[in-house]
Structures are given as C-alpha cells and as structure tokens.
C-alpha cells in the first residue's frame, strides 16, 4: 500500500493546501478516491462512467486501495459492495443510466440495511431507444430509494462531493448510502481546473463498530443476528415494526442535513436571492443558467440563481423561503419528466410561481440562449 497520512476530514476539506490540476471529471473521481481511504471498489463498464472506474483500477494497482475487481453486472456489483459493506469495510463503485436501472432493486436495500456505500452516478439516457448521451432521467427514479443524493455541477464538485460523501454517509446517526450524481460527458469528459488536497493525505478509516447496525463479521454482538430480519407476519405488530424501520431511514436522511451544511456548506448556493425571478437548477444546468443569468442581469433584468447541491435531503425550507419573495421560479432541466420542477413545486407554497422548463434530453445540449429566452419571457 502507498504510504499516506490520515488527517481529519476538516483538514482534508478545508485546511490542507490545495493544488490546481487541469483534469476531467473522470480524473476528479480518481483523485477523490485516492484520498478517500477506500478498502474495496467494484467496477463494471458503462459509458460515460467506465473511465472513472478504469482510473480507480489504476490507483488500486498503485496501492491506494486494498481490493478492486470487475463485477458481472450492475445488480451484482451493487450486491458485492453491499456484502463488503456489511463485512465492515469502506466501499466505492460507479455506474450510470441503464446500469442504474439494472441495479435498481439494490438501492432501497442499501438504504434499508443502513449501508454507508458511496456510489458515483455518471448519468446518461436510458433505453429505448439506446442512448449513451447526457440525460438526468435516472435521477427521477432514484429520488425515493432512501439514498442521499448530491448533484455535482463540475469536476471540482465531483471531487469534493465524493470525498465528503464518505464522511456524511458514515456518521453513526446517518449511516446511509450516498449517490454523487454528475452529468455524463458534460462533467466526465471535459477538462477544468480542479483544486485538490495533497495526494499523501487520506480520510480516517471507517469504524464499523460505531455503526447503528452490527457488522457481519462474527466479532460483534449479538451473534444471533440477521441483516436484515424480516418482520413479515401478517399482523399489526409486524406492520408497525416495518413502518418504524422505514421512518428511521427518513429520519436518518433528516439528520444528514446538519452534515451537508457543515461539509457541503449548504444544500443550496444562491446568487441574488432578492431577485423577482429565480432560476433554480442542479448539475451542469447550473452552469448554463449562470451564463444566461449573467447576460440577463447585464440587460437589467431582475434575475437570480439557485444552485441545488443536495437533492436528498431536499432543501425544502430554503426553497420555500426563497420562493416566498420571488415572483417567478424557472426550472430548466436535462430530462423530459421535469423531476426537479416537481420537487420544487412540492416545497413552495404557491405552485403557480413555478415555471417548468426549458427541458432538453436525449443528449441535447442546453444553449444558454434558450434559458435566456425563458428568463426574458418571465421577466416581461
């Protein structure tokens, strides 16, 4: 193994001197994992994710991870990391698009089992017809699986969010899986300046004995322990136990808020909160919107921007408060269903303020002019 020094998360995130590297999003994944003290990673190819896990394989070969292998399908990969996580080690994997859907049954199972797995979802379209191009539709399906969800705007976000995801996921009061989502190609395959901590530093190791559930290692009490026991009889007692278990997953998501504030420095980032019209977006749509907002402001329009970084937990209160003083909220998206628009509508008091779209999908880019047109219409 490569010799690295364990430092506190706070040091790694906020204090260590950072160095700028001109790298792709896939390389940012590698740089995050290099410093994450991951024990085991499992990979499976799918464009646009594959390169990130090739690179994780490369640093395994260099001695930054203890174990790495290629699984046989996404469903199996997600089960393999689940088994390893129950065995008490820190794990990482990544997928996207059809891979996400192939593995789908595992995500609620991860959350229900309180597994602090970190998975990068490098999103793309889903069949049919087949598309490898950017599209965030898979995120619509993931919203209610119980996992925490962060959405990266850039390679810098991807690097930071992956590292921070481990720390948030493993808090004993949270102990839930975290999906770090980034838009395929737009983030994975483009190069930007990314500020990274020194490569000889890493996170403290995972402590399975602080977990809210016993590790499956025959070292921890109680010995008579099934992960996870059924409460499957047909009676009220069993239903109530299952219901309380599910509530506990929701509660754990709520507890994560505090750590998202601490480490991601808020669930949202706002520019010009006082504006009459607000664009609310996540992922790379924030970048497209930022350009449009800049032009619109130059032209004297009263417009602001809200970048949503955390989708689970969702910034309910933040958005409700912002929406109160705004006249109109524009929600541009990279998918056809408009899941972010739905989420925002569920949070605000007056849903008539929320204007869904523009939306593009199937790999189409979003020219800032298209967002600008919408801004102009809404400011008129």
């Amino acid at each position: 193994m490569v010799n690295q020094r364990v430092v506190t998360p706070e040091h790694l995130f906020f204090e260590a001197q950072r160095e700028k590297q001109f790298i792709t999003g896939s390389e940012a994944v590698r740089e995050a994992i290099r410093r994450a003290n991951v024990d085991l990673a499992v990979s499976y190819p799918i464009t646009p994710q594959s390169e990130s896990m090739h690179l994780v394989g490369d640093i395994y070969a260099e001695g930054y991870l203890k174990e790495y292998f290629r699984g046989e399908s996404e469903l199996a990969v997600m089960a393999e990391v689940a088994g390893a996580s129950m065995g008490g080690v820190r794990v990482f994997t990544a997928t996207g698009g059809p891979g996400t859907l192939r593995a789908f049954e595992m995500f609620p199972a991860w959350a229900g089992a309180r597994l602090p797995i970190v998975c990068a979802f490098l999103t793309r379209g889903v069949n049919s017809p087949l598309s490898i191009q950017p599209d965030t539709i898979e995120m619509a399906f993931m919203l209610d699986t119980g996992i925490l969800m962060f959405h990266a705007e850039s390679a810098q976000d991807l690097y930071d969010m992956i590292l921070k995801a481990f720390v948030i996921a493993e808090r004993p009061d949270v102990h839930l899986p975290v999906g770090v989502f980034a838009d395929g190609f737009f983030v994975t395959h483009t190069r930007e300046q990314v500020a990274v901590a020194p490569a000889d530093l890493k996170l403290p190791p995972y402590d399975p004995y602080a977990a809210p559930v016993p590790a499956m290692d025959m070292e921890s009490a109680p010995v008579r322990q099934m992960r996870d026991p059924f409460v499957m009889k047909s009676n009220f007692i069993s239903y109530a136990a299952h219901a309380s278990w599910q509530q506990e997953i929701l509660a754990a998501q709520e507890r994560a808020r505090k750590y998202v504030h601490r480490y991601l420095e808020g669930l949202v980032e706002v520019e010009h909160p006082e504006a009459a019209v607000l664009v609310m977006a996540s992922g790379t749509m924030v970048s497209q919107s930022r350009e449009a907002v800049a032009v619109a402001r130059q032209q004297g329009l009263d417009i602001g921007l809200v970048k949503i970084k955390s989708l689970r937990p969702f910034p309910r209160e933040e958005i409700k408060t912002l929406a109160r003083q705004a006249r109109t909220i524009i929600v541009p998206e990279y998918n056809r269903v408009g899941w972010l628009c739905r989420e925002i509508k569920a949070a605000v008091e007056d849903t008539t303020k929320v204007v869904g779209g523009p939306r593009v999908f199937g790999g189409m880019t979003m020219p800032p002019e298209v967002v600008l047109d919408q801004i102009r219409r809404c400011c008129a």
Binding site: P222, N235, S244, Q247, A251, E254
Partner: protein, 203 residues
C-alpha cells in the same frame, strides 16, 4: 435551521406518529442532551433522568447486546456501571439480548425486542424505560413504537449521538458518564429516601 416546536412526550402518540427527526428535532452536540425534544445542557438532563427514575412506579432498564455481551474491551466496565445505576435507581432489568423478531413467541416477562417493545412494556406495566447498549438503528425503531402505542417515559443512554424519539437522551455515554448519573441518582435519592426504597419493596 430553526429549533423545532415538536415535543417528544410519552404516548400513546397515535396510529403511526412521525419520527421526531422528521418533525425537526435535532440530536444534541457534545455536552448537550435532549429533554422532550429540547436541547439542554447535559447536566440538566442528568438531573431530569434521576428525577424520572426515582419518581417511577416501575422503572426498567433495557440493556442491549452492546452491553449484555462482553464482546470487546471496555464492555465489562460499562456493564458494571449499568448495574450500579440500576441498583441506585431501585430499578429492574429486562434485557434485549438481540434484535430478531420474536412475535408471537416472545416471553414479555423476561425480555424486550426492538420490533415489538410495546408487548414487554404493556405486560410489565413499565412507566419508565431506559435503553442502554442498543445499536442506534434498533433503538430508534423501538423508541418510535413505544411512543406510538404506550405511555412509557423513555430514556436513552446512547454511546453514540443520541435518539430523538426518546423523551430524554444522553449522547457519548460511557462508563464514566454512567457513574456520574449514578451519583446524581444517589444524591437525589438521599433527599427523598422513601421513594427509592418503596420501589424496591414492591418487587
């Protein structure tokens, strides 16, 4: 984030009450505790726990696997501190040896189970119940069920970060903190010896 108005009080709270965390109750930071949904200094919570234990008709401790089984170093010391606290409080012990659902085979007179803790509380008419050494997930599952369907006053002596669904929760509880609580209980019991002794006699 604002402090929650939601109060975590003994039930029965209803058919399926929400998790207190979803109502805005947040876990305490080090040095703090939660009493009925409000953050208080830890010392205040120690006093309140002692008061509740001594005033109880039938206080019962529910030690869980983390303290019942001497599975790693330090557990025996913590177990001893729990037993001393139980004695000082004039309470009883009903263990939670593991977490597998046992309904309907459970003998509620001798054990408690996180999947149906209400059965043990009803059966033994427990008015104050204390969780210690239970893995957080299972403690939370149980505490919600208890608050939903019983009038038991729940206290969680958590080794990690505490439990919103207990009426009182301490965090970072180790042997030293248990001994400190025992002292508080003893001091208060001396001020009102009749109560503690009374609880003993009724068994």
């Amino acid at each position: 984030m604002t402090a929650s108005e939601y109060r975590v009080l003994p039930g029965p709270e209803g058919y399926l009450p929400p998790a207190a965390a979803c109502m805005g109750v947040m876990l305490p930071e080090p040095g703090e505790a939660l009493v009925e949904g409000k953050i208080v200094p830890e010392e205040d919570a120690l006093q309140k726990i002692a008061e509740k234990l001594l005033a109880a008709r039938n206080p019962v401790f529910f030690p869980g696997p983390l303290v019942l089984w001497a599975w790693r170093e330090g557990v025996a010391e913590k177990a001893k501190a729990v037993v001393e606290l139980v004695e000082a409080a004039g309470a009883r012990i009903i263990p939670m040896p593991d977490y597998r659902p046992k309904y309907p085979m459970i003998n509620p007179a001798v054990e408690i189970n996180p999947n149906h803790p209400n059965l043990t509380i009803w059966h033994n008419r427990i008015d104050v119940g204390v969780f210690v050494g239970v893995h957080c997930h299972y403690a939370n599952v149980a505490l919600k069920i208890i608050r939903g369907g019983t009038d038991c006053y729940t206290i969680a002596l958590c080794g990690e970060m505490g439990h919103e669904d207990a009426m009182i929760t301490l965090r970072d509880v180790d042997a030293a903190k248990l001994r400190r609580l025992t002292e508080v209980v003893k001091t208060r019991a001396q001020a009102r010896p009749a109560r503690a002794a009374g609880a003993h006699e009724r068994r």
